[in-house]
Structures are given as C-alpha cells and as structure tokens.
C-alpha cells in the first residue's frame, strides 16, 4: 500500500492544532485515517498535499469563526459588548474627524482676513510692493503668516516670504480655481517638510492678480497628531475596559446558581 510521506504526514498532524481543541480531540484520529485512505488511492500525488493543507487552512478558519459566533450567541453579554464597542468606535471616530476638521479650518485664520484686506486695497489701486511689510520670512522655519502677490500669469510680484532664497509659486490649477471662484483655500506643500494653510484670492482692478496669504501648518499638524494619538489611546483603553467588563460579567453569570 502507498504510505503517505512521513514528514508531510507529521506536519499535517501538527497542523491539526489549528482546529478548535474540541473538534481536534474528537476527530483527529478519523481525519488522519481518512488522509491515509485518500492517499492510498490518489491519482494526483503532486496535488494531494497542497489541496490537503489548503482544506485544513480554510476549514480551520471556518470552524473558529463558527465557534466564536456560537459562543457569542450563547452569551449575549458578548454580543452587547461588541455592539457597544462598534457604536463607541463610530462615535469616537466621528468626533475625532470633526475635531481634526475644526483644527484644520482654524488654521486658515488670520489668512482669510489678511487676504481680504490686502485684496481690497490692491483692487482700490494700491501697489502690493507698498502695502506689504518689508521684512521677509523663511518658510522652512517660520510660523508667521505671510503674503505674496502674483500677477495674472502667476509671476510673483511682491512677497514677505521666501523658500530657498526664491518666492515659491503654487501649481497653476490653484490659480485657475481662484480665477473661477475668486477664492481657494488649500494645503500647500512647496517642498517636503514645508506645509502651509494657504488662501488664494483673485484681485481685479488696476493691478489684477492673486493675493496668497498663508502660514505654516506645523503647530496645527502637531495638534492633529496629538489628537490622533489621544483618540487611539482612549479608544484602546475603552475597548479593553469593555472586554474586561464583558468577561467579568460573563464569568459572574456562569458562576451564578441557576434557579430550578
């Protein structure tokens, strides 16, 4: 009779540990006997072991899923805990996203007000070079708000900021959007590590062009990072408490003497 390869047989026998213990104890001998029977008559020896291990993997996952479901159904406390966990996760996620959006929106101030004020003055005839403060900031390190005026074709005319000794220019799509809708608020990253909350406003009149006001997102993103970590730690702690609570209540329930 054609005997199975001893190494693969031993490996399969060990792999039966993937099954839930109750099932393994009850059926291990029968499964191994069926394997021997099947092997002795197989017509595809090359496919025999791969298909056997694939079946073991698929069926063991299925058995664990079914066992978990059955256990949960027998103990409603776990169903309630999972439901509560899902609700808390959704609520916590929604709150975190809202907070993050509020932080990001807050980063557009005071640029919106600055931009409006400069745009009014330029539209009334003032020259940007005369309006803007003389000092220049370096965008790589400064947290100060800045303003840049670009011509209609996107060429920098006046600026209070520079990056690598030049005035940065945003992608042309942002100009197109501002030209169409008068205003565009974006997160602008002119180079890795330099991210800004930028507000671009289109200006008409004697000096047509665009006023870009911006400031570094460094502090805001630090706060967002803190919020993300805080949210995750809180969520993890709440889920642990929920799991421990469910386990405690379940054990207390199973120890309670049943009424006759």
């Amino acid at each position: 009779m054609n005997s199975p390869n001893p190494f693969l047989f031993a490996l399969y026998r060990q792999a039966l540990r993937l099954y839930p213990a109750r099932l393994r104890v009850r059926y291990q001998d029968q499964i191994l006997q069926t394997l021997r029977d099947t092997h002795s008559e197989t017509r595809h020896p090359l496919l025999f072991w791969p298909s056997l291990f694939l079946d073991l993997l698929q069926s063991s996952i299925k058995e664990h899923v079914l066992m978990t479901r059955d256990q949960a159904m027998r103990r409603p406390i776990f169903v309630h805990a999972v439901t509560l966990g899902l609700i808390l996760t959704l609520m916590g996620g929604a709150a975190a996203v809202t907070m993050q959006q509020l932080l990001r929106r807050g980063a557009d101030h005071p640029q919106i007000e600055m931009g409006r004020s400069y745009a009014h003055a330029i539209a009334a005839g003032a020259r940007p070079q005369d309006l803007f403060p003389a000092e220049r900031i370096d965008l790589r390190g400064s947290l100060e708000p800045f303003v840049i005026f670009y011509s209609e074709s996107g060429v920098p005319i006046a600026s209070t900021a520079s990056l690598n000794s030049a005035v940065p220019v945003p992608p042309s799509g942002i100009f197109d959007h501002a030209r169409k809708y008068q205003l565009d608020m974006v997160t602008w990253q002119p180079q890795p590590g330099v991210r800004m909350a930028a507000v671009l406003r289109h200006v008409s009149g004697p000096n047509p062009g665009f006023v870009l006001t911006g400031r570094s997102l460094f502090l805001v993103e630090e706060q967002e990072d803190l919020l993300r970590r805080g949210t995750f730690i809180t969520w993890f702690a709440v889920m642990c408490l929920l799991a421990l609570g469910a386990l405690f209540l379940s054990r207390a329930e199973s120890r309670r003497p049943h009424a006759a």
Binding site: I31, T34, T38, L56, E63
Partner: protein, 116 residues
C-alpha cells in the same frame, strides 16, 4: 397566529457540501472516506471534500441531529455515520426544493428557446 414551519425547513437551503454528505448517507451508513468518495462522484454532487471540511460539517450535522454515529466501527479510527429521521426529512425537503427550482428553470429556458 401562523403555524410553526416544519423543523426540516429550518435547515434549508443546504450548502453543496452538506447536501453531498446527506446524499452519501441516504441509502446506507458510511465512514468518512466513503462519504468523501461518494461526494466526489458526479452523481454524488461532484464535491471535492477535504477531511477538515468533511469532519467539520459532520460535527455540525450531528449537533443539529441530522446525522448520528452508528456506534459500529471496524477500527477505532474509522467510525460510521447514518442519517437520522430528521436528516432524511431534510434531504427530502431539499430534493423537493431543488426539483421545483429545476422545473422552473427548464420551463423558462424552453420558453426562451421557443421564442428565439
């Protein structure tokens, strides 16, 4: 109040693997390997059952009282299984359900071919 559905209907529809197992045991008791061989035949459903799938399904069928161990064994590692009365009723109900589906499919296919 509506009358309760017959217990066999609660198990329908059967998965292909479960149908093949019940079909294999319909006439006589069999051990695991014999069930696998029968299920692999075209007339038995043509299902390639692995040992893991087979014994997992058998375990659930025993729990649901559709299958039982006979107690007879020619080897401690080779146990025999048979259908219970409920198992026979479930198989009959599934056969009837599949027959009705097949009749509908044949009628509709024939009508479509007649129109073409």
């Amino acid at each position: 109040m509506e009358p309760a559905a017959p217990p066999e209907l609660r198990h329908l529809p059967l998965s292909p693997a479960v149908l093949a197992i019940l079909l294999a045991l319909a006439e006589e008791e069999k051990h695991g390997y014999a069930i696998m061989k029968e299920a692999a035949l075209p007339a038995g459903g043509g299902i390639a059952l692995g040992p893991g799938t087979l014994y997992g399904s058998l375990d659930r069928l025993i729990r649901d009282a559709l299958v039982e161990e006979t107690g007879f064994t020619d080897d401690a590692r080779r146990r025999y299984y048979r259908l219970t009365r409920l198992g026979h009723r479930v198989l009959a109900a599934e056969t009837s359900r599949l027959s009705a589906t097949l009749r509908t499919a044949r009628t509709r296919t024939a009508a479509r071919e007649a129109r073409a």
